[in-house]
């Protein structure tokens, strides 16, 4: 369920580390459609930059 391509830090350009996923429940119709396979939510990935420490997230594919 997770996205294979590495996330690039938007602040320093380094390759980020994917360290966590969270199932996010929402009433937003678009997100619910994206998350139909998970029931009533979607999976969010969380990434941290080993160079500058910044964090980022994205919907899993």
């Amino acid at each position: 369920m997770t996205t294979d391509d590495k996330m690039i830090c938007p602040k320093c350009g380094a390759e980020m580390n994917h360290h966590s996923d969270k199932l996010v429940y929402t009433t937003d119709s678009q997100s619910v459609r994206m998350g139909e396979m998970l029931g009533s939510g979607y999976l969010e990935e969380f990434h941290a930059c080993p160079k500058c420490g910044s964090v980022a997230s994205r919907h899993a594919a």
Partner: protein, 189 residues
């Protein structure tokens, strides 16, 4: 890079009540943290955050608060106990971020006028911390009968709290270092 990047561990003062004694506890913890090598800190007073109250959650994310939470390696929450719970404004502020908190350490300082030192507000905050992705430590600081711990000008009247805060901060810093390593170096799965 990690070796030269100091930890950032801000202190969140979680009440807007006038005459709050928690501000003295928050200032004490901030001062003690600020004396540690390799750690930067600052006191975040939730009354100073320009969050609207006609919406909630990440929709009202404040850029300044979000930036500080992103930079943070750990948080200290100073929470007075009001009717056994935490302040509504504290929850409103905490709910405005998510990705900024994930796999970061949090320590909670309970404050009360009564004898239990905020133990019930700490217990009530634990499930909230977990859902926000924060990792709680098992040391707390409990300021019971806070009106006898500080004078009206904020002077500490009970020096035993210096040692208690020291234990709490050591545990939090250890967890902050460990989780930074995990977040930035250890891939999921």
């Amino acid at each position: 890079m990690n070796a030269i990047r100091p930890l950032f561990i801000p202190v969140i003062l979680g009440t807007a009540r006038m005459g709050r004694m928690s501000v003295h506890a928050a200032r004490l913890v901030t001062r003690e943290m600020g004396m540690r090598a390799g750690v930067e800190t600052e006191l975040i007073d939730i009354t100073q955050l320009p969050l609207p109250t006609d919406d909630a959650g990440e929709a009202i994310k404040d850029r300044g608060y979000s930036s500080k939470m992103e930079r943070a390696d750990a948080l200290i929450i100073v929470a007075p106990e009001y009717n056994h719970g935490y302040s509504g404004l504290l929850k409103h502020v905490l709910d405005s971020c998510l990705k900024e908190y994930i796999h970061k350490a949090v320590g909670i300082v309970g404050v009360s006028a009564g004898p239990f030192g905020g133990t019930r507000v700490i217990q009530n905050l634990l499930p909230v911390m977990r859902e926000l992705g924060l990792v709680t430590i098992f040391w707390d600081v409990n300021f019971s009968s806070v009106q006898r711990v500080f004078d009206k000008d904020g002077k500490l009247l009970d020096e035993a709290f210096i040692g208690r805060v020291d234990k709490f901060l050591k545990e939090l810093i250890w967890m902050a270092k460990t989780l930074r390593q995990g977040r930035e170096q250890i891939p999921l799965g």
